[in-house]
Amino acid sequence: MFIASKDALNSYAAKIKGAASAETTILVSMGTCGIAAGTTPVLKAIRSEIAERNLQNAIDVIEVGCMGLCHCEPSIEIINNNTGKRIIYGDVAESQVAAIIAAGSDTPAQGTRTVERTWYYPEFETKPASALQAKIVLRNTGRINPEKIDEYIAEDGYQALAKALTGMKPDEVVNEIVASGLRGRGGGGFPTGKKWQFAAVQKNDEKFMICNADEGDPGAFMDRAVLEGDPHSVLEAMAIGGYAIGAHVGVIYIRAEYPLAVKRLQIAIEQAREYGLLGKNIFNSGFDFNIEIKYGAGAFVCGEETALIHSIEGMRGEPTFKPPFPAIQGLWKKPTVVNNVETYANVCAIIRKGADWFKSIGTAGSPGTKVFALAGKVSKVGLVEVPMGIKLRDIIFSLGDGIKDGKAFKAVQTGGPSGGCITSKSLDTPIDYETLKGLGSMMGSGGMIVMDEDDCMVNVARFFLEFTLDESCGKCTPCRIGNRRLFEMLNEICDGRATMETLDKLKNLSRTIKDTALCGLGQTSPNPVLSTMVNFEDEYLAHIQEGKCPAGVCANLIHYEINDKCVGCTLCARNCPVSCISGDRKQKHYIDQTKCVKCGVCYQACKFHAIDKN
């Protein structure tokens, strides 16, 4: 199939939409985490059950990307195409497949787990009161087969590109994005339209559109979900951006840790070329655009745009001082726009529906939605897309269903290693770029790690520092040496060797690094320290003044002892990995403190509350 013009796209889309569909559609979640949780055998069982019952014509099975229901993978959705009724099943086992198919799409099968739908699509449905999520970025993710371009075209795919190329001048496209108020979803929140504007006015024979898919923040996986679930939305948006700024080459820089996303991108690019939606003279407009993929090699700092550009150029991924900004002098010293995956995924919807529509969602300063990866000690881990301005409480306690195992909420960490911790007193703040910054954290790429009473905040700060230490490129002194000193001080606190003076030094050095580091990685690396010091000062003080870790995490500050409730069942001794527990049967046992590694296995194993943790 070759689509040569806008009319050809419209008639092809109409043909696909008009094609008779089966009575029932089953969507099977085949993202990385779905597959890891065991979707593949479930899919196989569904296919063979359908074949056995001879239902091939009545049921369509579609392998889709992540539905966002990570807490109950493998998940499947059954849709009745005539009535519109749908049921989502979670934790599906192979043994349940026969019953699920027999039950159909009207009533759930016995003995299965069903999941309530908490999202709506602002594109084509009115919002029900129970739905907190609004899907723009993830509009197709989890609904279409990412490896089939026809399914994307049937969902108005490539309509935005057609509209831009055949009905808009490049500066009109730029102005539309400026007017929409779209801000960079990679973390910084810089207005996307402005970036495009800077690059568009440059006079140069060669310009580049780069997609930053080097999603390195631990705990963030929304870009992976988009690339695995809806790769064409990114390709189409890059082509629109290329037209707007006058670039003919797009580069997707993706991390090597995402093999499935790479594979689906390759398939998508190939299909788009075959259809003439990438390549020469797209829609007979005279505009040429091609996209190539470049691979990262495991360096977190390459998410910083100048470092990313150096990495594409085949060099060490070290950042350089800005200005010159990439929009003026970027890849191969040519004007370059670097946008993140989630940012691109918004572009097509904006061009198609207009800037005013986009601005009607979210807050005045931060229009649109944000995808968050909700993880940690929350009951329902998952990928959620919510309008900006939503309260953290709604995300954690409604969508996430509160804290696991009935424990108490302590903090939520946003913004990854560059962000900070937010406590319960700020749960009702409507969140956008500015309010999160005001709370001492940041939007970041959208990782949201929930922590409960069992997490030691000093240890959490140390964890993030260890991460930055590992990932610092070593180019500037504040980041290379300063962060190491911070890490050492946090170690002293966790080990109980620190004094009040350490705390002062920690604060001062953190501020110095913030002010003097070269790039975003260094400038934000002390954030986890500063924010925990403000919000959880008492925990720092307990470590230093009382020599205690209130959460019972820091190994040097806790010790286990067996009390008189011990009945001598020997369970602890049998479970101890270093054999440091001795005692005869039916006699009270003892822990050899010199050998104990404080792993806590005995504490968890004991059924008689006979082990004290101090």
Binding site: A36, D217, A297, G314, M315, R316, A375, V601
Partner: protein, 176 residues
């Protein structure tokens, strides 16, 4: 310039020892749309190294030199790139690469204890390989399967909700 790395201890000359692997790498580099500009050709370095590591398993000096020659770059530039990116290794890896995810979600759910347990069982530290060449132990940052935390990857296989007790079972799965 001829390769002298075979004279270095513990550094096999893989390029001469495996002509079919060399041919595979050569065919790959020859298929790249290289231009006359050495600067632009550097843009193909990282993907060539990915290929080389995929073919040979690791990147000792002779492989680095071979890639450098093919792309007309200095060995120092190639070495600079390899030493910068954590994905590239100059040492041979075990047949089973055990990687414990130490992303935030896994950390919060106790990934450290899993790492300690692997260290204890295998008697090696992070970044090392067992003397029989069967296992190497490493940590990686977030595979994006945070819902299954803590997560362990053995080669391409992902284990979710891992506990210290599961460690011997995972090792048992790695049968020759």
């Amino acid at each position: 310039m001829s390769c002298t790395c075979d004279k270095m201890p513990g550094n096999d000359n893989l390029i001469e020892a495996y002509p079919e692997k060399r041919a595979e790498l050569e065919a790959y580099i020859n298929s790249l749309p290289l231009s006359d500009s050495p600067d632009r050709n550097r843009g193909f370095l990282i993907q060539s190294l990915h290929k080389a590591q995929g073919v040979f398993g690791y990147l000792p000096g002779c492989v680095q030199l071979y890639v450098a020659d093919k792309l007309k770059l200095h060995l120092s530039e190639v070495y600079g790139v390899i030493s910068f990116y954590s994905f590239f290794t100059e040492k041979p890896m075990g047949r089973y690469k055990i990687n414990v995810c130490t992303g935030t979600a896994c950390f919060v759910k106790g990934a450290n204890k899993i790492v300690d347990e692997f260290k204890r069982f295998l008697n090696i530290q992070e970044g090392e390989t067992t003397s029989d060449g069967k296992f190497s132990l490493g940590a990686l940052r977030c595979v994006g399967a945070c819902s299954l935390a803590p997560v362990v990857m053995v080669n391409e296989r992902v284990y979710g909700n891992v506990t210290a007790k599961l460690v011997p079972e995972i090792l048992n799965d790695c049968a020759e």
